[in-house]
């Protein structure tokens, strides 16, 4: 019995230490929550999508329709100087278009607000949404997700003169996040005493933050990094208080498209194109490895 207790204590201590040593990405409560459909062994060649498949319908239409955010600097944003959408998620969308058409420009991007992502997928107005879309069980009841293509975590953005170090220090203060986002729910869960202010877009939060109409913004670290780049008087602080595994959202009626997209992601993660895109947009945050996909089947 003593030996068993020692063994149990050792296992617990090891597990605790392993958890504590994880850098910025916190552990999941349930690892399988992000599991998706396994991709086929080989990807069809561009412009040769299998007959009857969703990809073939997209190929016949002549363009891939993807919902992307337009207000997340470095992720999905309209560059006013070029009038083009740019960012990490936009490049992911281009990679999907290239996989179907062999041409990344066969792409129609629709800007989506956080609250519109699921309704647009369900209404069939977009083929997929690539927009810092956190995979969770509730959303999976309504739509399908690809495997994880980026692992993020929720932090806070405060004014440079703010003493706040974490979400726990923001009790009674106004903390902004877009309506309907997991970030908004995350704030309420992490600190119910914080005053949640909801907007349509992240940039609306930033504009209010710059005008001191809110005290902080809380969302995923990559989004906050993009916001901080636009305001020299802001800083990102605190440990992540939630795990935000990003997936590509698609319709529940199109499992073939989900498998295809997972295939493209596997290829991107293995051939170095994922890392190239990451370095281009988030290189300043430090090097990281692409997350590994997990599958249901």
């Amino acid at each position: 019995m003593k030996t068993f207790n020692r063994l149990l204590a050792a296992v617990c201590a090891t597990a605790f230490m392993a958890t504590a040593m994880l850098p910025s990405a916190p552990a999941f409560a349930a690892p399988d929550a992000t599991a998706s459909l396994r991709p086929a062994a080989t990807l069809p060649r561009p412009m040769a999508m299998p007959d009857g498949s969703t990809m073939k319908k997209i190929q016949d239409r002549g363009r891939l329709i993807v919902g992307v955010s337009q207000d997340k600097y470095a992720i999905g944003f309209l560059n006013p100087l070029t009038n083009e959408l740019e960012g990490f998620d936009v490049e992911m969308a281009k990679a999907m278009a290239k996989a179907i058409f062999g041409n990344e420009n066969k792409l129609q991007i629709i800007a989506v607000a956080s609250a519109d992502r699921i309704p647009l997928i369900k209404a069939g107005k977009v083929d997929m949404v690539i927009s810092t879309f956190t995979i969770n069980a509730k959303r999976k009841e309504e739509i399908n997700f690809s495997e994880v293509y980026y692992m993020s975590g929720q932090k806070i953005l405060v004014h440079k003169d703010s003493p706040a170090k974490s979400i726990a220090d923001l009790s009674g203060q106004r903390v902004c996040a877009p309506a309907g986002s997991t970030s908004a729910k995350g704030i309420v869960t992490a600190n119910p005493a914080a005053k949640l202010v909801e907007t349509v877009e992240f940039t609306d939060c930033l504009a209010m933050f710059m005008m001191r109409q809110v005290d902080a913004i809380s969302t995923d670290d990559v989004i906050l990094a993009g916001l901080a780049k636009q305001d020299p008087f802001a800083k990102v602080v605190g440990p992540s208080f939630s795990a935000e595994p990003y997936g590509i959202g698609m319709s529940k009626d199109q499992p073939d498209l989900v498998r295809f997209v997972n295939g493209v992601l596997v290829q991107m993660k293995s051939d170095g194109s994922w890392k190239r895109i990451y370095d281009k947009w988030f290189g300043a945050m430090g090097a990281t490895e692409p997350p590994r996909g997990t599958y249901l089947d």
Partner: protein, 433 residues
């Protein structure tokens, strides 16, 4: 015994005196002259009050209420124009059309400042009008600040610029336009009440002039008959001249004041209504153009701006239809062309051709949206000019209809008094001899 009441004694004395006068021919002549004097004064007062009342209504309507309404509406249009130009500049980014939009924005901002000064000088309702104006002036500064923040961030390629622009536009619609509406409504209320009072008062004034003129004529006619019967004299020429003056003045003033009423009615019910509608149409046109730009800036997530633009176009159609002043046909034709270009923009945008959509929205070519908008704006501005010119002309006519009429009333009424005096005094003197 109780002493008799003093006033009763005086009344009985004056009654006795009048009875005494009524009993003799010279007494009756004196009474007739007195009646002519009194009625001539009444006639003069009725004319003076009627003419001045009418003139005051013209002044209140044409120099106070309507200019305040037009100023409030012009401020509204300028605000919407600024919003449209700010969105256009943002959409154009670093392109030439963006720089042009900025130059126009600054010009309109200056014009807005001038209009606000005009509005401040024309305050007629104290705090009720001053408060919204002060709020508006304050918000204009805040609005410009937000637009500047949008520009500064846009120039650095930061997406937060679009958020500042949306914030500015929302503030303009939710906090600034209601202030212009408040000023507008105060003055519209005043206009309606003044016009309604004028319409009923002018009938009463004309009625008083006619009644006092007729009463004067009756007395003059009676005295004429009296002289001819009692004194076996032919008609008294001065009394005849006095009667002619009263007839002419009554007829002339009745016609003039009726014409003035009609001209003011045309100014208010036709020209002003048309001008107001054209101003509203211009505002709706700028608003629709802003929605078009915001729709494109929202990159496919602008469904609410598309819906909003449809509402503005509908409002514009209603405002531009059936106006008696200005050409509704021209405006509606220009609007149809604009709507066609607008639909092309949305089709491009929805089929992934964003660059084409933006180029079409900013383009000045024959079949491009900016040109279509400029044509529409030009048609609306021309119609507004027609309606305001017509309003000014009707007001000028209304004023000229009663020009100096109050003075004429006083002078001619004094002439009637003098003629009455000269007509009856020789007859009274005959009895002295």
């Amino acid at each position: 015994m109780q002493a008799p009441n003093n006033s009763a004694v005086i009344n009985s004395k004056s009654n006795g005196k009048i009875k005494g006068m009524m009993g003799t021919t010279p007494g009756q002549l004196r009474l007739g002259m007195f009646a002519i004097f009194i009625l001539a004064i009444c006639f003069a007062i009725a004319g003076y009050v009627g003419v001045n009342g009418a003139r005051s209504s013209v002044n209140t309507i044409a120099r106070d209420a309507v200019p305040s309404i037009v100023t409030a509406q012009t401020v509204r249009v300028k605000l919407l124009q600024m919003d449209s130009l700010a969105a256009q500049e943002f959409l154009a980014g670093g392109a030439d059309s963006g720089a042009q939009a900025r130059v126009k924005y600054e010009a309109v901002r200056k014009e807005l400042g001038e209009q606000l000064t005009v509005a401040a000088k024309n305050i007629s309702f104290g705090r009720d009008e001053q408060t919204p104006l002060e709020t508006l002036m304050d918000k204009v500064q805040a609005y410009n600040g937000l637009v500047e923040a949008a520009r500064a961030n846009n120039r650095q390629g930061f997406p937060v610029g679009a958020a500042f622009l949306r914030m500015a536009s929302t503030m303009l619609h939710n906090e600034m336009l209601p202030q212009t509406q408040a000023i507008d409504q105060l003055n519209v209320k005043q206009l309606e009440s003044e016009y309604s009072n004028f319409k009923s008062a002018s009938v009463i004034h004309i009625g008083f002039i006619v009644a006092s003129g007729l009463a004067l004529l009756v007395v003059l006619g009676y005295m004429q008959l009296f002289i001819s019967k009692k004194m076996r004299r032919s008609f008294s020429m001065p009394l005849l001249a006095a009667s002619a003056v009263v007839v002419a003045l009554t007829a002339y003033s009745t016609v003039s004041m009726t014409l003035q009423r009609s001209n003011l009615g045309t100014a208010k019910e036709t020209s002003f209504v048309s001008a107001y509608n054209w101003l509203e149409a211009r505002g709706a046109a700028y608003d629709a153009k802003t929605d078009q730009s915001l729709f494109l800036i929202a990159l496919g997530a602008g469904a609410k701006y598309e819906e909003s633009a449809k509402v503005k176009v509908q409002k514009l159609t209603v405002s531009a239809t059936g106006n008696e002043q200005g050409s509704s046909a021209n405006a509606l034709s220009a609007l149809r062309n604009y709507v066609q270009q607008d639909e092309r923009i949305r089709t491009y945008d929805k089929t992934g051709k964003r660059s084409e959509a933006v180029n079409l929205a900013l383009g000045n070519g024959t079949q491009e949206a900016q040109k279509a908008f400029d044509d529409l704006n030009q048609a609306l501005t021309a119609n507004l000019k027609t309606a305001t010119s017509s309003f000014d002309a009707s007001i000028a006519s209304a004023e000229s209809n009663i020009n100096y009429l109050d003075l004429v009333f006083i002078i001619l009424s004094l002439a009637v008094v003098a003629l009455g005096y000269f007509g009856l005094t020789p007859r009274i003197n005959e009895y002295r001899a």
